[in-house]
Subunit: 243 residues, 2 copies
């Protein structure tokens, strides 16, 4: 610690001395900020307690289940394993399940909901999330759950998966992520991937998946070029306005 | 705003000038604190989204209910109205309901749970809380729900009611609150009421409810005197240690 020189003050937080150019706050503002922080922490503790109270345990070993979900990925046999659940919970978490179970549809009568194009593990994780708001994600699971969340309109899970995937987005995954996000209406992930692509247009032709995308989905390649062109026009307009 | 005098610095928060004795933080600590505040606010938003996702709608107009609760306050007839619910939710929120519904007890077979000494309104609010973690409290409702929360071991609701009652505790209610809290194991409310009483022992004989308590529950009046005596002994010990 340095000496208390003329024209310096001591910080009540780190206890170091600082000059005028490094001035932060006066004592009153510091104390108010401290109070705010304490209040925010209390609010967090209260909310965590509410979450703990509202969280349900996974239905796998539950009594009183009144519906089963069956995964069908069209390949493995493991997917015939049923995942038990409660109609009330499914209906409260997903408007799609609600419609299935409250209107006079096949699922309501049979008590069985078939979920296609999904593995047993993903279905189990999906149902588990509906009870607990928790999912142990890796990249594949985030993709699988995002698809289910979009299909069954579980917004909170979709946002959760989208955030996970956005945090791991990089150039190698940019084109695949962009195509995936476009297909499943994950607009934030799509925007992030598109920005990454249009920021690196000089590398576009060299990207492994570019030719594949042109072949399979030329419509969204056009979207990339349109976004790039708009960006160039905007940049040009900003520059000329600056001059 | 004052002029920038020698030996004063400007607060980056309120923009006022301060002298050495009013020094708060340096700029680095101020910026760190700001970041922390932003992070806490983000955490709060995330938790609020989880709460919104996990909250169930009240079961009153639900389909798929598989159990009914019936209030009996021994007086009004309104209490014969049933409150519908889901076994899975009751069992997940209360270990007492879980035992009733998972073991081979009368309630499991009949699908009806009788709740004694409670009004229909309180029972409805209680069940509603099990679904939503929300209750619209006034003082009577807080007392009623605390009793139910204690009986059915719903800790989160008990804490919620206790906090509500503690915030409204005053001398007039001190003795009744103390007796109530003692009866229903509301230890924080009991401690707060006891502290309020032992801080005002000179007024104790004049309190309207004192004689009634002596008559009906002399055992807990003894607790009051014991707490008072301990306090006096402690105070004396502190004083003599200080001399």
């Amino acid at each position: 610690m340095r000496k208390d020189y003329q024209n310096e003050m001591q910080c009540v937080s780190c206890a170091d001395y600082y000059g005028r150019e490094d001035a932060g706050t006066c004592k009153v503002c510091y104390e108010e900020a401290n109070e705010t922080e304490e209040e925010l922490k209390t609010e967090i503790d209260d909310l965590k307690a509410i979450v703990a109270f509202l969280k349900l345990s996974s239905p796998i070993n539950h009594l009183h289940t009144d519906v089963i979900l069956v995964a069908s990925d069209g390949v493995s046999h493991q997917s015939d394993l049923p995942v038990p659940a409660h109609r009330a919970i499914l209906a409260s978490r997903s408007p799609v399940f609600r419609a299935m179970l409250e209107n006079d549809m096949e699922e309501r009568r049979s008590g069985t909901i078939k979920i296609s194009d999904v593995t047993y593990d993903a279905l189990r994780a999906f149902v588990n999330y509906l009870y607990t708001a928790e999912a142990c994600l890796d990249e594949q699971m985030a993709y699988d759950l995002l698809v289910l969340a979009e299909k069954y309109e579980v917004k909170h899970l979709k946002t959760h998966c989208e955030k996970y995937l956005m945090a791991r987005l990089n150039w190698d995954k940019a084109i695949a992520s962009y195509a995936f996000a476009h297909q499943h209406n994950a607009t934030k992930l799509q925007d992030a991937a598109l920005t990454l692509i249009t920021d690196n247009m000089d590398k576009l032709f060299k990207h492994e998946e570019y030719n594949e995308l042109v072949e399979n989905n030329p419509r969204i390649v056009v979207d990339i070029y349109e976004a790039y062109l708009s960006k160039q026009i905007n940049t040009a307009a900003c520059k000329s306005a600056g001059n």
